[in-house]
């Protein structure tokens, strides 16, 4: 037994148990074995010194708990429970995963040439497609969380929109943790293939039904072929006891358009590791994000955009609202490689601090190797402007209402980018309710 396995005995036990259940294709078994070997070598990024990727986020609380992954337990959830925990619209194609297992009875099936369904089934029915793309974007070579997810890859969501197809109904993936087994780990996995000139909207909701402590280790891979157009929403609305590490990897081909908005409200420690590779000329991406943290929550957004080819455009705007003793981290690079001339990139992170004990750490970096580019970035942090509050008070609003209006306006810039009306309304309500009512009057010290 190596030293690494003794560091994570629970994962090792669960992996062995999973290894003995069969039914998956041989190539998948092999992939999982490789990932497990890699995980044993990498472990989790708990080193504090010189660990630039995890500089402001300490994952030792995650590493120190022996999260279980029991097999064969498939708790049932009815859709009324779900509709309380996650946005829900009957016209959407909803796919529900309960504690990591696909629940076909409360999921809907699309018609036509589009595949939306279980990844495990797709591995049997569309082996060539799945094998070609799975684990290609999310490399587990240098990431312990991706390696762990891949080692436990059993099921997940697979969406394939063939060339020229437009899927008008949004695909909604609900990953729900029931909290019936504690502490539990789930490994949500999503693969989206958008064919040439196809169009699709994907919503990922990570929710929980109880205030339980659990760990979600999610990996999402999205591939856009030439001219594809993908809208993507990621909602992190788990319990405030939960640990969540979400890794998203996007690869864009020529003239494709990728738009994403990430909303985070839940999790004790949350990490949104998002990476977009603009791998062909003329690709464009827009990444928006909104995070609201209270109590002792810790939210880490690590967003990377890699301009590998010319004429790419990227827009990144993340906004944070911090209350209580919470802490938010923003990091990531916009890289413009030497070949990527005529790139136009903007990267912005704005933070609103509402309490004396909140902390924000922002590290937006630009790494530029091409000369004919237009790149900029900005970061701000501060409290609600005193003069603005005073103005609104002078117009007859009390200070609580005034500050709520201002915070709401701050959040609206991101919420308003959501094109799905039911989702936009849901998020607006959710964030509006979460805005702290007590107002901190900082004033100026004389």
């Amino acid at each position: 037994m190596t030293q690494t396995t003794t560091r994570f005995p629970q994962y090792a036990t669960d992996y062995q148990a999973l290894a003995s259940t069969s039914g998956e294709p041989a190539w998948l078994t092999q992939l999982r074995e490789q990932a497990w070997t890699r995980f044993e070598h990498l472990g989790l990024p708990i080193i504090r010194r010189g660990n630039e990727k995890w500089k402001y986020t300490d994952v030792r609380p995650v590493a120190n708990v022996a999260f279980e992954h029991p097999l064969g337990l498939e708790p049932q959830v009815d859709s009324s429970q779900l509709q309380k925990a996650a946005p829900w619209d009957a016209s959407w194609i909803n796919l529900v995963f309960v504690d990591g297992y696909y629940s076909p009875n409360i999921s809907s099936q699309p018609t036509g040439g589009v595949y939306v369904g279980s990844l495990a089934e797709a591995a049997q029915s569309h082996p060539e497609l799945v094998q070609k793309h799975l684990a290609q974007q999310a490399s587990f070579e240098d990431d312990g969380f991706v390696a762990l997810n891949t080692a436990f890859l059993q099921d997940g969501a697979f969406v394939h929109v063939p060339a020229g197809q437009v899927l008008s109904a949004p695909v909604h993936l609900v990953f729900v943790t029931t909290g019936q087994v504690e502490p539990r780990v789930t490994y949500p996995r999503t693969l989206l293939l958008a064919g040439t000139n196809s169009q699709v909207t994907l919503v990922e909701s990570y929710v929980s039904l109880a205030d339980a402590r659990f760990f979600t280790d999610a990996v999402t891979e999205i591939v856009l072929e030439d001219g594809a157009n993908v809208s993507h929403y990621r909602l992190l609305l788990e319990s405030t006891e939960a640990y969540h590490v979400g890794v998203s990897r996007v690869c864009q081909s020529q003239d494709s358009t990728f738009t994403s908005a990430s909303f985070a409200k839940g999790a004790a420690i949350g990490r949104n590791d998002f990476q977009v590779l603009l791998d062909a000329p003329g690709a464009s991406c827009t990444l928006n994000g909104l995070y609201l943290t209270t109590g002792t929550q810790h939210m880490d957004n690590y967003i990377n955009i890699d301009h590998a080819k010319p004429n790419g455009t990227s827009r990144l705007l993340y906004k944070g609202i911090l209350d209580g003793k919470s802490r938010a981290v923003f990091g990531g690079n916009v890289t413009v490689r030497q070949e990527a001339q005529k790139t136009d990139a903007q990267q912005t992170d704005k933070n609103l601090l509402l309490s004396l004990d909140a902390e924000v750490d922002s590290k937006p970096s630009l790494l530029i190797y091409a000369d004919d580019v237009k790149c900029g970035h900005g970061a701000t942090a501060g409290h609600i402007d005193d003069d603005t509050l005073f103005y609104m008070q002078s117009r007859g609003l009390d200070v609580e209402t005034a500050s709520q209006i201002l915070i709401h306006a701050f959040a609206s810039e991101i919420i308003d980018t959501v094109e799905l009306t039911p989702l936009r309304e849901y998020l607006d309500r959710l964030f509006m309710e979460a805005i702290p009512t007590s107002t901190l009057r900082l004033g100026r010290e004389s």
Binding site: Y56, L356, D357, S362, S365, V373, H377, A381, E445
Partner: protein
């Protein structure tokens, strides 16, 4: 009257033919320590300086700490160089002394005086630069300091640090290492163990230093390192403007320069620190050149005090330098203005740290990076607002200009906010010289190359304005020389 040229001399057509005009060597007798670093070398350096026991103790503590670091130099910066063999360096090199060292300029080696005249630093009392007191440091020792008498009358101490250790031990004991402790980082530990000379300045209470103080650093010896240490203390209500200039000969092998600068301002005091860094940058293929690994930090300890760093970095093969300010006193102010230019195979990873501790502290960062040739330029800066820093403000602007498609420009800001009353803004842009601007200049009859200089000069103008007047002229000239042949 000819204008004084501090670092770059008048640029003539002939000058432009050569690459680096300060690359000559001074042919004087050298007294140097054998290569390598050990406790014996530390003792030897301390002995050469005739240092008191407490100083040697401090050096040895630093050395032992450095040994414990196990030669693990910091690797997080975006710079690449072959591993430095710390045992292959002379840690001490000095012009040979006859007897007790020069009492007056008459005793200084005429060869040296001639050499410094050539560099534009006249040491001769009659010809000395008006309005600037200069301390000249050659390799490991301070050669001479001008204007000392006049400064003494004002109560200002400005002398080599080795002299200050002898004459003002109380000040040294109190302040040396108080801003940059010997445990601070790898190169700071190394410096604390082997530093040989540098400048020391103390401005007494309520005194405005009547002239500018300047230290001119020159590396001369081959395969030697330069490890100077500068300490400036501005007592309550005082003001000083301090300039620093540096050049080195052209050597095929790279040389290490690991300096430490500490600034301290007490209540209502202000230090303005300007640097023109023009160490030898290496040749066109990136061979040779100075590795400039410097720790510079100021502590605005007193209320309403101010520390301002201005730097123009055109030299060095590699620059690793983050002049910082600890804003401890309430209402204290920190400023950082920087132009960093890289050409050929130069690499620069430079920026600042502003640590806000006191209430209503303010900091401003304006950094301009210019990358040409195969140069790699990184701005790396930290703005940290501690919970106690109520009402702190920071403004940061980092702009990068790319000249040519083989170079790189990177911006890596770290922003850590732990007080909601703080207001922070960070902005950065990266672009090349706009074709439209160039076209406009050309159609007004300005040649392409000249137009490039004009635009780049305009890009840096805000920083040059922060420099003392003569220095600003030099900086602009230096930019032009450094960019020679890359544009047009």
């Amino acid at each position: 009257m000819a204008t004084q040229k501090v670092i770059s001399r008048t640029t003539t057509a002939e000058d432009l033919q050569t690459d680096y005009k300060w690359g000559f060597t001074i042919d004087i007798e050298q007294d140097s320590a054998p290569k390598g670093l050990s406790e014996d070398i530390v003792r030897l350096i301390s002995g050469k300086k005739n240092e008191p026991e407490w100083m040697l103790e401090w050096r040895l503590k630093a050395f032992r700490h450095w040994v414990r670091l196990n030669q693990e130099e910091p690797t997080w910066a975006n710079i690449h160089h072959p591993t430095i063999d710390f045992q292959d360096i002379h840690y001490y090199a000095a012009p040979s002394k006859k007897g007790d060292g020069p009492k007056s300029l008459d005793e200084v080696d005429p060869e040296l005086i001639e050499a410094f005249n050539k560099l534009g630093i006249p040491l001769d009392e009659q010809k000395k630069m008006t309005g600037v007191a200069v301390d000249v440091v050659l390799d490991s020792v301070s050669v001479t300091t001008t204007y000392q008498e006049m400064l003494e009358k004002a109560g200002i101490i400005f002398c080599p640090i080795s002299e200050a250790i002898q004459k003002h031990p109380d000040l040294i004991k109190k302040y040396m290492g108080s801003v940059v402790p010997y445990t601070d980082n790898f190169y700071a530990s190394l410096n604390a163990a082997v530093f040989s000379d540098g400048s020391f300045a103390y401005i007494p209470k309520g005194t405005r230093c009547p002239i500018e103080l300047m230290t001119y650093f020159r590396i001369n010896a081959e395969e030697s390192g330069q490890f100077e240490r500068t300490l400036i203390i501005a007592d309550e209500g005082s003001y000083v403007s301090y300039l620093e200039g540096c050049t080195a000969p052209m050597r095929k092998t790279s040389q290490l320069h690991a300096a430490v600068v500490e600034l301290i301002t007490l209540d209502d005091a202000e230090i303005k620190y300007s640097t023109l860094q023009n160490w030898y940058p290496g040749d066109k293929e990136g061979k040779g050149g100075v590795y400039n690994f410097v720790t510079k930090r100021g502590k605005a300890a007193g209320k309403n005090s101010k520390i301002s760093w201005t730097q123009v970095e055109t030299g060095s093969a590699i620059t690793w330098k983050y002049p910082s300010v600890i804003l401890q006193g309430d209402n204290s102010v920190g400023e950082f203005y920087s132009v960093a230019l890289v050409n050929n195979y130069q690499q620069a990873d430079t920026g600042t740290k502003m640590i806000h501790i006191g209430k209503n502290t303010k900091s401003t960062i304006v950094a301009k990076g210019i990358s040409a040739g195969h140069g790699e330029n990184t701005y790396r800066g930290l703005v940290k607002i501690n919970p106690s820093a109520t009402g702190a403000k920071n403004f940061t602007q980092c702009d990068s200009l790319l000249v040519g498609d083989q170079c790189g420009a990177h911006t890596v800001p770290y922003i850590e906010v732990r007080n909601p009353t703080a207001q922070l803004e960070h902005e950065a842009t990266t672009s090349k010289v706009s074709d439209d601007q160039l076209f406009y200049c050309q159609q007004r009859g300005i040649g392409l190359e000249e137009a490039h200089y004009m635009i780049i000069n305009g890009f840096c103008r805000g920083i040059f304005q922060e420099l003392p007047f003569e220095f600003a002229m030099e900086a602009s000239q230096l930019m032009k020389v450094s960019l020679e042949g890359t544009v047009g």
